[in-house]
Symmetry: C3
Subunit: 139 residues, 3 copies
């Protein structure tokens, strides 16, 4: 299985909280970082998700927001690191953040946001991702 | 009503499963393909959705992921076909997949994903869409 | 706290409807416009959201759809104004809509949608945003 999502983080299911239509699933990465996802109840069944199972958190780069000095925000995933590369486009730029331990998150954001945030390689920044933007996959 | 969403699939509501805040609505396309959407409960009321009603599943191209040999994934919509066109940009490319029966799905994904997946016209690939990324409209 | 999201609308929490995993939160802007968001229950707690509190509705430009003559659509947020600028890219264009009272919404949509909708400065158009695409922040 190969996917276009730039961000594919391998971890272990560490918690499952069932709702009526949606279920919150937490994926723990080596090192303790947690990725919160909200998927449909049907998906939990199809993927046979259960605590301890290996799973991938897939995040499309267009769903990643970049922030600096993030405090109170509803998005459940705020992953902080250093900008490791910026690839320039005409309307959008592609910004990667090195989270350490070999993890990188890539975001596609508008050029004007790159400018207004003063993003450049080495700047400390956070990748912000809504739980509903995370897709889960299993082998 | 005219919309910027590149993907506007006309079908029939075939199932509605109510939750507390969200409701899962399935749109069946001619030929049997099903599109699963999750919308707010308020939207079901506003649109007067009910089984048998004609509705459009609207999917923004930036919310479409492309995959190859897709197996176990939480996204409820996996639509497989052949790449019919690739329009190149600077950071993003626009990739269309012909699903047959006149249906095409367009995705905007990063150039590096197009390269790493080896996408080119004629390659068999899947358009992957989270149920929460599908918007519904009625006439 | 600084963010890459192009759309950051400051308002007041006017309603909170709790679900099992998700909660619907309405932000009222000065002038009466309402932004509907769906966030996880955990986020409501973390942000200590309550009616009357000042909050920001954050919307990534890639999650904004542009429509003309919008009627029945499941997306809870339909904000109508006039196109105030179009910045051209290679695959995507950046389109801003002036909502009046100093509010502007920016969308990134494909060039072909800009063409097919006939968008140009001055055209009346709506920014359409799913409740699940809105992120909330507080100071």
């Amino acid at each position: 299985m190969r996917l276009s999502t730039r961000n594919q983080l391998k971890g272990t299911v560490s918690a499952i909280s069932e709702g009526v239509t949606n279920t919150e699933v937490i994926i723990s990465l080596p090192g303790g970082t947690q990725i919160v996802s909200v998927v449909t109840k049907g998906a939990v069944k199809t993927l046979e998700l259960e605590v301890g199972k290996t799973a991938y958190a897939l995040i499309k780069s267009s769903n990643v927001i970049i922030g600096i000095n993030i405090q109170k925000i509803s998005a459940r995933n705020v992953l902080t690191g250093k900008v490791s590369s910026i690839i320039e486009g005409s309307v959008n730029d592609e910004v990667s953040i090195d989270l350490g331990r070999g993890y990188t998150i890539t975001a596609v954001i508008t050029k004007s946001s790159v400018a207004s945030l003063g993003l450049e390689v080495g700047v400390v920044a956070s990748a912000i991702i809504k739980a509903s933007a995370v897709i889960l996959a299993v082998d």
